[in-house]
């Protein structure tokens, strides 16, 4: 069956994030002074097939560790859900 994984790739805490800082600055200058911090990361929406949830979980875990995140500076977490045909049409 088809699965949808929303993978969040985040910069490790403590690593400088100039993009996040720039966005925070932009927000403050637009009047959102209460913005204390912004961290920028990647959002990857994967559509793929796997026999069952366990297999799907394992696949995503592997995709993250092998390619999607670089452990030197990133971490990854994700949400997995069974994929509706409708969603496929949209995503493709």
């Amino acid at each position: 069956m088809r699965w949808l994984a929303e993978v969040h790739v985040r910069l490790r805490p403590g690593i400088a994030d100039p993009e996040g800082q720039t966005i925070a600055g932009g927000l403050r200058s637009l009047g959102f002074e209460s913005v204390a911090d912004v961290r920028a990361g990647k959002l990857l929406r994967l559509t793929f097939a796997a026999a069952d949830r366990a297999a799907a979980e394992a696949a995503v875990a592997q995709m993250c560790s092998r390619l999607l995140a670089n452990p030197v500076m990133e971490t990854a977490d994700w949400e997995l859900s069974a994929d509706e045909p409708a969603a496929v049409a949209v995503s493709s």
Partner: protein
Amino acid sequence: MSRSPRVAVLVFPGTWSERDFAHVAGLLGWEARLLWHAELDLGDADAVVLPGGFAHGDHLRTGAIARFSPVMRAVEAFAAAGGPVLGSCNGFQILTEAGILPGVLLRNDHLEFRCDWQPLRVERSAGPWLGELAEGETIRLPISHGEGRYYADDAVLDELEATGRVVLRYADPDGRVVPDANPNGSLRSIAGIVNERGNVLGLMPHPERAAEAEVGGTDGLRILRALDAWLVAQPAAAERRL
């Protein structure tokens, strides 16, 4: 070794400076071979160059997909056996993603692409690529990248320093390593490093763009030309077959 060096210049989908390396190889009388990333075998190469560019469009992370190219297995073995490897710009990024060199190159701290001539302080003058440079001298090479901010954790950085593996630092025209001279926010102003054995050099600047006075300088030629002398001093290198 009397014959001219055989150099494999790798070509990944989206890299471009292989063409400029090939041009300089011509000036140096090298036998340069452009090798497509899908190849499995480096042949009888004496040295390997990973060029600059945007392999796979720099999508996801620079070098992230290229490191899995079939040819990279041969490069890993070649490097591990002490073969001379040079990775410039995208080539450096691929070497770090592949774990052949430590650390990673992140987006420039000012978030902009930057193309300019950049003074560099030479921290070490040994190995296949740095032999013609003098420790402490200031050279000029072009930089041209959007993601050149070198990052590694403190332990790695300290070890690099302690073992003399930081070979090039961004500097001002007088060779002073000062924050204002750092074009991308690299930690400790690191522009180039080598591996433990010193046979693998990764640097963000473009030596192939500084090989003729007509285009602005020749310090890059001194880096690439050093290979000839080094190979002569290493008979083993000529025999090496992988």
